[in-house]
Amino acid sequence: MGYLIAAFTVVWVGLIAYLGWIALRIRGVRLEIETTRALLDEREPGSEQA
Protein backbone atom coordinates (compact mmCIF):
# COMPACT_ATOMS: atom_id res chain seq x y z
CA MET A 1 0.00 0.00 0.00
CA GLY A 2 2.94 2.33 0.79
CA TYR A 3 4.32 2.03 -2.78
CA LEU A 4 0.87 2.75 -4.22
CA ILE A 5 0.45 5.91 -2.12
CA ALA A 6 4.01 6.99 -2.97
CA ALA A 7 3.34 6.54 -6.71
CA PHE A 8 0.09 8.54 -6.67
CA THR A 9 1.67 11.29 -4.55
CA VAL A 10 4.79 11.59 -6.73
CA VAL A 11 2.78 11.72 -9.97
CA TRP A 12 0.01 14.12 -9.00
CA VAL A 13 2.11 16.43 -6.81
CA GLY A 14 4.84 16.34 -9.47
CA LEU A 15 2.48 17.28 -12.31
CA ILE A 16 0.76 20.03 -10.35
CA ALA A 17 4.17 21.43 -9.27
CA TYR A 18 5.34 21.32 -12.91
CA LEU A 19 2.19 23.18 -14.05
CA GLY A 20 2.80 25.78 -11.32
CA TRP A 21 6.44 26.15 -12.36
CA ILE A 22 5.42 26.75 -15.99
CA ALA A 23 2.87 29.37 -14.83
CA LEU A 24 5.64 31.12 -12.85
CA ARG A 25 7.94 30.98 -15.90
CA ILE A 26 5.24 32.63 -18.05
CA ARG A 27 4.58 35.29 -15.40
CA GLY A 28 8.30 36.03 -15.07
CA VAL A 29 8.78 36.44 -18.84
CA ARG A 30 5.62 38.61 -19.14
CA LEU A 31 6.97 40.87 -16.38
CA GLU A 32 10.33 41.06 -18.16
CA ILE A 33 8.58 42.00 -21.43
CA GLU A 34 6.57 44.76 -19.72
CA THR A 35 9.68 46.17 -18.00
CA THR A 36 11.76 46.08 -21.22
CA ARG A 37 8.90 47.65 -23.19
CA ALA A 38 8.64 50.48 -20.66
CA LEU A 39 12.40 50.99 -20.84
CA LEU A 40 12.35 50.92 -24.65
CA ASP A 41 9.47 53.37 -24.75
CA GLU A 42 11.49 55.77 -22.62
CA ARG A 43 14.35 55.58 -25.15
CA GLU A 44 12.32 55.26 -28.36
CA PRO A 45 8.97 57.04 -27.81
CA GLY A 46 6.16 55.35 -29.77
CA SER A 47 8.05 52.03 -30.05
CA GLU A 48 5.20 49.98 -28.56
CA GLN A 49 3.39 50.17 -31.91
CA ALA A 50 6.30 48.34 -33.54
Binding site: Y3, L4, F8, V10, W12, R25
Partner: protein, 254 residues
Protein backbone atom coordinates in the same frame (compact mmCIF):
# COMPACT_ATOMS: atom_id res chain seq x y z
CA UNK B 1 -1.07 52.86 -50.96
CA UNK B 2 -1.83 53.65 -47.33
CA UNK B 3 -5.57 53.32 -47.90
CA UNK B 4 -5.05 49.82 -49.36
CA UNK B 5 -2.73 48.65 -46.52
CA UNK B 6 -4.91 49.88 -43.67
CA UNK B 7 -7.87 47.43 -44.01
CA UNK B 8 -5.46 44.54 -44.70
CA UNK B 9 -3.55 45.22 -41.45
CA UNK B 10 -6.80 45.56 -39.49
CA UNK B 11 -8.10 42.21 -40.86
CA UNK B 12 -4.83 40.46 -39.94
CA UNK B 13 -4.98 41.92 -36.41
CA UNK B 14 -8.64 40.85 -36.05
CA UNK B 15 -7.81 37.32 -37.24
CA UNK B 16 -4.90 37.14 -34.77
CA UNK B 17 -7.15 38.32 -31.92
CA UNK B 18 -9.79 35.73 -32.92
CA UNK B 19 -7.20 32.93 -32.99
CA UNK B 20 -5.95 34.00 -29.55
CA UNK B 21 -9.53 33.99 -28.23
CA UNK B 22 -10.21 30.46 -29.60
CA UNK B 23 -6.91 29.24 -28.15
CA UNK B 24 -7.92 30.65 -24.76
CA UNK B 25 -11.35 28.91 -24.96
CA UNK B 26 -9.57 25.67 -25.90
CA UNK B 27 -7.20 25.98 -22.96
CA UNK B 28 -10.08 26.66 -20.54
CA UNK B 29 -11.94 23.59 -21.92
CA UNK B 30 -8.79 21.45 -21.53
CA UNK B 31 -8.19 22.74 -17.99
CA UNK B 32 -11.81 22.14 -16.92
CA UNK B 33 -11.77 18.69 -18.56
CA UNK B 34 -8.55 17.74 -16.75
CA UNK B 35 -9.90 19.09 -13.42
CA UNK B 36 -13.04 16.96 -13.80
CA UNK B 37 -11.22 13.82 -14.95
CA UNK B 38 -8.35 13.91 -12.41
CA UNK B 39 -10.45 13.13 -9.29
CA UNK B 40 -12.54 10.57 -11.25
CA UNK B 41 -9.31 8.87 -12.40
CA UNK B 42 -7.94 8.77 -8.83
CA UNK B 43 -11.24 7.44 -7.46
CA UNK B 44 -11.55 4.81 -10.22
CA UNK B 45 -7.94 3.65 -9.72
CA UNK B 46 -8.02 3.50 -5.92
CA UNK B 47 -11.62 2.50 -5.16
CA UNK B 48 -13.60 1.41 -8.24
CA UNK B 49 -11.16 -0.95 -9.98
CA UNK B 50 -10.92 -4.44 -8.45
CA UNK B 51 -7.87 -5.52 -6.42
CA UNK B 52 -5.52 -7.82 -8.34
CA UNK B 53 -5.61 -11.35 -6.89
CA UNK B 54 -1.86 -11.95 -7.36
CA UNK B 55 -0.23 -8.54 -6.87
CA UNK B 56 -2.68 -6.91 -4.47
CA UNK B 57 -3.04 -3.13 -4.20
CA UNK B 58 0.38 -2.33 -5.69
CA UNK B 59 -1.01 -3.38 -9.11
CA UNK B 60 -3.18 -0.21 -9.04
CA UNK B 61 -0.02 1.68 -10.06
CA UNK B 62 -0.92 0.41 -13.56
CA UNK B 63 -3.50 3.25 -13.84
CA UNK B 64 -0.64 5.76 -13.63
CA UNK B 65 2.16 3.78 -15.23
CA UNK B 66 0.45 2.75 -18.50
CA UNK B 67 -0.83 6.25 -19.52
CA UNK B 68 2.55 7.70 -18.49
CA UNK B 69 4.24 5.08 -20.70
CA UNK B 70 2.05 5.66 -23.79
CA UNK B 71 2.02 9.49 -23.76
CA UNK B 72 5.83 9.86 -24.15
CA UNK B 73 5.42 7.89 -27.42
CA UNK B 74 2.94 10.58 -28.52
CA UNK B 75 5.13 13.43 -27.21
CA UNK B 76 8.26 12.14 -28.98
CA UNK B 77 6.28 11.47 -32.17
CA UNK B 78 5.26 15.15 -32.08
CA UNK B 79 8.98 16.05 -31.63
CA UNK B 80 9.82 13.79 -34.61
CA UNK B 81 7.18 15.30 -36.95
CA UNK B 82 7.76 18.92 -35.81
CA UNK B 83 11.54 18.49 -36.24
CA UNK B 84 11.08 17.22 -39.83
CA UNK B 85 8.75 20.13 -40.56
CA UNK B 86 11.23 22.60 -39.02
CA UNK B 87 14.11 21.32 -41.17
CA UNK B 88 11.86 21.40 -44.23
CA UNK B 89 10.09 24.76 -43.73
CA UNK B 90 12.52 26.57 -41.38
CA UNK B 91 9.50 27.89 -39.48
CA UNK B 92 10.38 28.62 -35.83
CA UNK B 93 6.91 27.57 -34.68
CA UNK B 94 7.69 23.92 -35.51
CA UNK B 95 10.95 24.16 -33.60
CA UNK B 96 9.13 25.63 -30.57
CA UNK B 97 6.50 22.86 -30.73
CA UNK B 98 9.24 20.19 -30.84
CA UNK B 99 10.99 21.80 -27.84
CA UNK B 100 7.74 22.05 -25.83
CA UNK B 101 6.69 18.47 -26.58
CA UNK B 102 10.17 17.14 -25.71
CA UNK B 103 10.08 18.89 -22.32
CA UNK B 104 6.65 17.49 -21.42
CA UNK B 105 7.65 14.07 -22.81
CA UNK B 106 10.71 13.99 -20.52
CA UNK B 107 8.56 14.90 -17.48
CA UNK B 108 6.11 12.08 -18.32
CA UNK B 109 8.94 9.59 -18.97
CA UNK B 110 10.54 10.49 -15.62
CA UNK B 111 7.24 9.91 -13.81
CA UNK B 112 6.75 6.64 -15.74
CA UNK B 113 10.20 5.42 -14.64
CA UNK B 114 9.51 6.40 -11.00
CA UNK B 115 6.11 4.65 -10.95
CA UNK B 116 7.68 1.60 -12.63
CA UNK B 117 10.41 1.45 -9.98
CA UNK B 118 7.85 1.74 -7.17
CA UNK B 119 5.74 -1.00 -8.76
CA UNK B 120 8.84 -3.18 -9.25
CA UNK B 121 9.91 -2.69 -5.63
CA UNK B 122 6.41 -3.55 -4.43
CA UNK B 123 5.94 -6.64 -6.62
CA UNK B 124 9.39 -7.97 -7.65
CA UNK B 125 11.15 -6.78 -4.51
CA UNK B 126 13.63 -4.68 -6.54
CA UNK B 127 13.14 -1.35 -8.33
CA UNK B 128 15.31 -2.00 -11.40
CA UNK B 129 16.78 -4.80 -13.50
CA UNK B 130 19.57 -3.76 -15.87
CA UNK B 131 19.24 -7.07 -17.73
CA UNK B 132 15.66 -6.24 -18.74
CA UNK B 133 15.44 -4.87 -22.32
CA UNK B 134 12.25 -2.80 -21.78
CA UNK B 135 13.68 -1.06 -18.71
CA UNK B 136 17.09 -0.44 -20.28
CA UNK B 137 15.75 0.84 -23.64
CA UNK B 138 13.32 3.13 -21.77
CA UNK B 139 16.19 4.54 -19.72
CA UNK B 140 18.09 5.16 -22.99
CA UNK B 141 14.98 6.93 -24.37
CA UNK B 142 14.94 9.16 -21.30
CA UNK B 143 18.67 9.92 -21.73
CA UNK B 144 18.17 10.80 -25.44
CA UNK B 145 15.49 13.39 -24.72
CA UNK B 146 17.27 14.75 -21.62
CA UNK B 147 20.25 15.27 -23.98
CA UNK B 148 17.87 17.03 -26.39
CA UNK B 149 16.82 19.44 -23.62
CA UNK B 150 20.43 20.00 -22.53
CA UNK B 151 21.39 20.73 -26.14
CA UNK B 152 18.58 23.31 -26.34
CA UNK B 153 19.65 24.82 -23.05
CA UNK B 154 23.33 25.17 -23.95
CA UNK B 155 22.87 26.29 -27.57
CA UNK B 156 20.31 28.96 -26.62
CA UNK B 157 18.24 30.42 -29.45
CA UNK B 158 20.81 29.87 -32.20
CA UNK B 159 19.66 28.45 -35.54
CA UNK B 160 22.46 25.89 -35.54
CA UNK B 161 21.30 24.71 -32.10
CA UNK B 162 17.74 24.35 -33.37
CA UNK B 163 19.02 22.36 -36.41
CA UNK B 164 21.14 20.02 -34.24
CA UNK B 165 18.19 19.52 -31.88
CA UNK B 166 15.90 18.72 -34.83
CA UNK B 167 18.34 16.05 -36.05
CA UNK B 168 18.50 14.58 -32.53
CA UNK B 169 14.69 14.74 -32.26
CA UNK B 170 14.37 12.74 -35.51
CA UNK B 171 17.16 10.24 -34.79
CA UNK B 172 16.10 9.77 -31.15
CA UNK B 173 12.66 8.60 -32.21
CA UNK B 174 14.26 5.36 -33.49
CA UNK B 175 14.32 4.21 -29.85
CA UNK B 176 10.51 4.46 -29.48
CA UNK B 177 9.64 1.30 -31.52
CA UNK B 178 12.63 -0.46 -29.88
CA UNK B 179 11.16 0.32 -26.43
CA UNK B 180 7.72 -0.83 -27.54
CA UNK B 181 8.80 -4.13 -29.11
CA UNK B 182 11.58 -4.89 -26.57
CA UNK B 183 9.26 -7.21 -24.64
CA UNK B 184 8.51 -9.31 -27.75
CA UNK B 185 11.96 -9.24 -29.38
CA UNK B 186 13.90 -10.21 -26.24
CA UNK B 187 13.25 -12.06 -22.97
CA UNK B 188 11.83 -9.60 -20.46
CA UNK B 189 10.41 -9.66 -16.94
CA UNK B 190 8.27 -6.67 -17.91
CA UNK B 191 4.67 -7.60 -18.86
CA UNK B 192 3.88 -7.31 -22.60
CA UNK B 193 0.75 -5.79 -24.17
CA UNK B 194 -1.13 -9.12 -23.76
CA UNK B 195 -1.49 -8.07 -20.12
CA UNK B 196 -3.82 -5.29 -21.34
CA UNK B 197 -5.16 -6.41 -24.73
CA UNK B 198 -6.18 -9.91 -25.79
CA UNK B 199 -7.42 -10.57 -29.36
CA UNK B 200 -8.33 -6.91 -29.86
CA UNK B 201 -10.40 -6.55 -26.68
CA UNK B 202 -9.43 -5.60 -23.13
CA UNK B 203 -7.82 -8.36 -21.07
CA UNK B 204 -8.76 -6.50 -17.88
CA UNK B 205 -12.11 -6.63 -16.02
CA UNK B 206 -14.61 -3.90 -17.15
CA UNK B 207 -14.06 -1.76 -14.01
CA UNK B 208 -10.29 -1.88 -14.50
CA UNK B 209 -10.68 -1.00 -18.21
CA UNK B 210 -12.84 2.00 -17.22
CA UNK B 211 -10.25 3.16 -14.65
CA UNK B 212 -7.46 2.85 -17.21
CA UNK B 213 -9.39 4.73 -19.91
CA UNK B 214 -10.37 7.60 -17.58
CA UNK B 215 -6.80 7.87 -16.35
CA UNK B 216 -5.52 7.86 -19.94
CA UNK B 217 -8.01 10.63 -20.88
CA UNK B 218 -6.94 12.77 -17.85
CA UNK B 219 -3.24 12.41 -18.67
CA UNK B 220 -3.85 13.12 -22.38
CA UNK B 221 -5.62 16.39 -21.53
CA UNK B 222 -2.76 17.27 -19.18
CA UNK B 223 -0.19 16.51 -21.89
CA UNK B 224 -1.93 18.85 -24.37
CA UNK B 225 -2.44 21.57 -21.72
CA UNK B 226 1.18 21.39 -20.53
CA UNK B 227 2.54 21.43 -24.09
CA UNK B 228 0.50 24.57 -24.90
CA UNK B 229 1.77 26.25 -21.72
CA UNK B 230 5.42 25.38 -22.40
CA UNK B 231 4.99 26.51 -26.05
CA UNK B 232 3.65 29.84 -24.78
CA UNK B 233 6.50 30.29 -22.28
CA UNK B 234 9.08 29.59 -25.04
CA UNK B 235 7.39 32.02 -27.47
CA UNK B 236 7.28 34.74 -24.80
CA UNK B 237 10.93 34.05 -23.92
CA UNK B 238 11.90 34.64 -27.57
CA UNK B 239 9.87 37.89 -27.65
CA UNK B 240 11.57 39.02 -24.41
CA UNK B 241 15.04 38.32 -25.83
CA UNK B 242 14.23 40.26 -29.02
CA UNK B 243 12.94 43.21 -26.98
CA UNK B 244 16.00 43.13 -24.74
CA UNK B 245 18.28 43.20 -27.81
CA UNK B 246 16.35 46.24 -29.12
CA UNK B 247 16.65 47.95 -25.73
CA UNK B 248 20.40 47.30 -25.69
CA UNK B 249 20.71 48.68 -29.23
CA UNK B 250 18.75 51.79 -28.20
CA UNK B 251 20.99 52.20 -25.14
CA UNK B 252 24.09 51.92 -27.35
CA UNK B 253 22.80 54.57 -29.77
CA UNK B 254 21.90 57.13 -27.09
Amino acid sequence: MKTLDQPHTTTAATEKAQRARWLLYGEIALGVGALILMPIAIWAALAYAPTDAVQGDVQRIIYLHVPLAILPYVAFFVVFVASILYLWRRDQRWDTLAYASAEVGVVFTTLMLVTGMLWGQGFWGRPWDWADPRLTTTFILWLIYVSYLLLRFYTGRSESGARMAAVLGIAGFIDVPIVHFAVTWWRSVHPDTNYLVDNGSSALPPAATFALLVSFAAFTLLYVLLTIQVYRSLTLRRAALELRARAEDAAGES
